[in-house]
């Protein structure tokens, strides 16, 4: 079953009167439960592509269908609601809310979704335990290491069981050991919860873990290697 279907996607900017095509007629299909890395050099259009798939940016042309729904037709209000209920985000620099505890950072998104207290508490406890922070639930971000903060971010992205998770350079700020642990964790959660992961990365260690690698160059898909691990 396809979760994401991208057809003829184009994103062009005008920079100092010059047209720059960041994403150039990209076609991409992502199936449920895939663990996909989008790789390519800086400026190849990875982040722009993910932003458009995540509903954060509007394409110049082309369509993006998530579960058969064309999100390019949604207005900004509908897009915010779509993101809240369908997509989990993991950012390079964690982006946790410093005044909230790990538990509150994770529960916040579920509360915005309108989940009841009991469901929220159970799921937050379950997911934080799954990412190995069951004993740090009441710690604030500044009391956690970088790796622990990124694990909270993973828990936050997964808490509401989204259709897919977009992770933009999730390991860029982490050391090797922490990266390894985080990737193992995400892989485990991907398998256990069958949540689709879509990464953009430079990191070879992430590439090594991916089961599908999409290579972008100058905004075009130049390589798409599926079922690498199988």
């Amino acid at each position: 079953m396809n979760v994401i279907e991208v057809e003829n996607l184009v994103k062009a900017y005008t920079d100092l009167a010059l047209e720059v095509v960041a994403v150039d007629h990209v076609n991409l299909t992502v199936k449920k439960g895939e663990f996909t890395a989008i790789v390519g050099p800086s400026g190849s259009g990875k982040t722009t592509l993910l932003n458009m798939i995540g509903g954060l940016d509007k394409p110049t042309s082309g369509t993006i269908r998530v579960n058969n729904k064309d999100i390019t037709q949604l207005n900004s209000k509908e897009l915010i609601n779509f993101r809240l209920h369908n997509i989990g985000f993991i950012f390079q620099s964690y982006n946790l809310i410093p005044v909230l505890t790990a538990k509150e950072n994770v529960s916040f998104i579920m509360e915005m979704q309108g989940e009841n207290r009991k469901t929220v508490d159970e799921r937050v406890s379950e997911i934080l335990t799954a990412v190995g922070l069951g004993d740090r639930m009441n710690s604030r971000p500044n009391q956690l290491s970088g790796g622990q903060q990124q694990r909270v971010a993973v828990a936050r992205a997964m808490a509401s069981r989204p259709q897919f998770i977009i992770a933009d350079e999730p390991t860029a700020n982490l050391d090797s050991k922490t990266t390894e642990k985080l990737l193992d964790l995400m892989e485990e959660l991907n398998e256990k919860e069958n949540i689709t992961f879509l990464f953009s990365t430079h990191d070879q260690r992430v590439v090594n873990k991916a089961r599908r690698i999409v290579v972008l160059e100058d905004g075009k898909v130049v390589e798409d290697n599926e079922n690498i691990k199988q």
Partner: protein, 476 residues
């Protein structure tokens, strides 16, 4: 919404130093504003109290001609019927009938013109609190032939007032005015010496004490040394009913002082029976009736009723008799709200600035929140609540501090005696007892919330204008 309230409250205390600075500024601004309003309200209420309970009563009745020409013959017509009507009206608490004559007061040392008011003591006490303003002597309680009650200002003008530090006063200075023994010892050289004017006394005190002691204790010493020559004789000259000039000697039985120098220097009081007889007025002939109403009675309604019954009379409320006090009373709330509004307006700039700084620092975080699905309504609510919380945290403490300050000074009074002449010349008390009413407090609470909400608009709009993609990319 619960999660938004929680995060907004926590965000307020994210940068404690900055938030505390803003909160302290709000506390100082609001408490000072409320206290200043309390002082103003206290002053106005004291002024209105004096206008009603000393100077005018709530309503006064006249022969219309008397208002244009204070002539002895312009007495209230049909007085018995008026009396009967006033006695019958249940909303009228008391009334006092007066005889009023313009007179020249003369002593061997000075003279002044004033309005001589003939009163009935028992009736007058029910209408006027003047008997509470006595400095020395009695309110016609001594068995004296033709007693007169004059003001401190009139005593000064007639040189009945003088200054002397008696042995008893000097002995009591340490306890009553906390004046050190060394200063009292220096003052002993003028013990029991009488000075005829304030200037002479001041000069003598200045020569005995050093400048620091003069500025610290001079005012108290001067006030304590004030003496009046009670039972002094004053000759009053006025025109009687037949148009003849009449001279009559009265003896000072007491000296009063209100907060209104203008009133003081133009009014002296004698017994109505004495004045009527000498002026040749008949038993029932009076020039003015002062009326006090019961609590909650509407003076305009009573005025209309009297006017309807006696169209030939001039029926004036205190508002018409003292338009200045009425104007201040009427627009007082507006003045106070404008005053507090100006303070809040200034504070709003500080709050907006703080919130804009907070948003600038949290651009990336706000971008993330919008990216993960926080909608515009929630972002706006969060910023608005943060601003309101920041404002209210200071405002509640500021209002409490202002209220406490008013309660304390409302009991002790604030002494502006150093500026006494300036204030009293305008009819305002030198010692003010600040007060504030609940309506005003409620109004301020609403204003503070409105300020918080309005102050949040610019920062919230700034937050809403962020593009999540660009905000997340920022390095802050």
């Amino acid at each position: 919404m619960k999660e938004i309230i929680k995060i907004a409250w926590k965000n307020v205390w994210r940068n404690k130093k900055r938030s505390v600075t803003v909160v302290v500024a709000v506390i100082l601004g609001i408490s000072a504003g409320i206290f200043a309003c309390g002082v103003m309200q206290g002053w106005v209420e004291q002024r209105i109290d004096a206008v009603i309970y000393i100077e005018n009563g709530r309503i006064k009745l006249y022969n219309p001609d008397f208002l244009n020409n204070e002539e002895i013959n312009n007495v209230i017509p049909n007085k018995e019927a008026v009396e009967h009507f006033l006695n019958k009206e249940t909303v009228i608490k008391a009334f006092s009938e007066r005889v009023k004559l313009m007179a020249m007061a003369t002593t061997s040392r000075g003279s002044t013109s004033l309005m001589l008011q003939g009163i009935n003591i028992d009736d007058e006490k029910k209408v006027s609190k003047l008997y509470t303003c006595l400095l020395q002597g009695t309110y016609f309680e001594e068995e004296t032939s033709r007693p007169v009650l004059i003001s401190d200002k009139t005593a000064e003008q007639l040189r009945i007032k003088n200054y002397v530090l008696t042995t008893e006063i000097l002995d009591s200075l340490e306890n009553t005015a906390s004046i050190p023994n060394t200063v009292i010892a220096s003052l002993r050289s003028i013990e029991n010496i009488r000075f005829e004017s304030e200037n002479k006394m001041k000069k003598e005190i200045s020569s005995l004490l050093d400048r620091k002691d003069v500025s610290k204790y001079g005012f108290d010493v001067l006030k304590m040394s004030e003496q009046y020559r009670l039972r002094s004789k004053i000759v009053f000259t006025f025109t009687d009913k037949q148009g003849e000039l009449v001279n009559q000697i009265y003896k000072v039985c007491g000296v009063y002082k209100t907060a209104n120098i203008m009133y003081d220097q133009s009014n002296a009081f004698v017994l109505k029976s004495d004045l009527s007889t000498i002026a040749g007025l008949n038993e029932g002939e009076i020039h003015e009736t002062g009326i006090i109403l019961r609590e909650n009675a509407n003076e305009e309604n009573v005025q209309s009723a009297i006017k309807k019954a006696f169209p030939e009379l001039s029926v004036l409320t205190w508002k018409e008799l003292s338009p200045d006090a009425s104007l201040v009373s009427e627009y007082m709330s507006i003045y106070l709200f404008i005053f507090v509004g100006i303070i809040l307006f200034a504070l709003a700039f500080g709050i907006i600035n703080t919130m804009l700084m907070a948003i600038l620092e949290r651009t990336k975080e706000l971008g993330m929140l919008m990216a993960i699905g926080m909608n515009r309504k929630r972002v706006f609510s969060m910023i608005m609540l943060e601003t309101v919380f920041l404002t209210m945290a200071g405002a509640v403490a500021g209002m409490l501090a202002g209220w406490l300050l008013i309660q304390v000074t409302g009991m002790t009074g604030l002494n502006f005696s150093s500026f006494v002449d300036g204030f009293e010349a305008m009819g305002w008390a030198a010692i003010v007892y600040p007060t504030i009413d609940l309506f005003f407090f409620f109004g301020i609470t609403v204003l503070v919330i409105v300020t918080g909400v309005l102050s949040s608009i610019i920062p919230a709009r700034k937050a809403l204008s962020l593009n999540p993609v660009e905000a997340i990319r920022m390095n802050n």
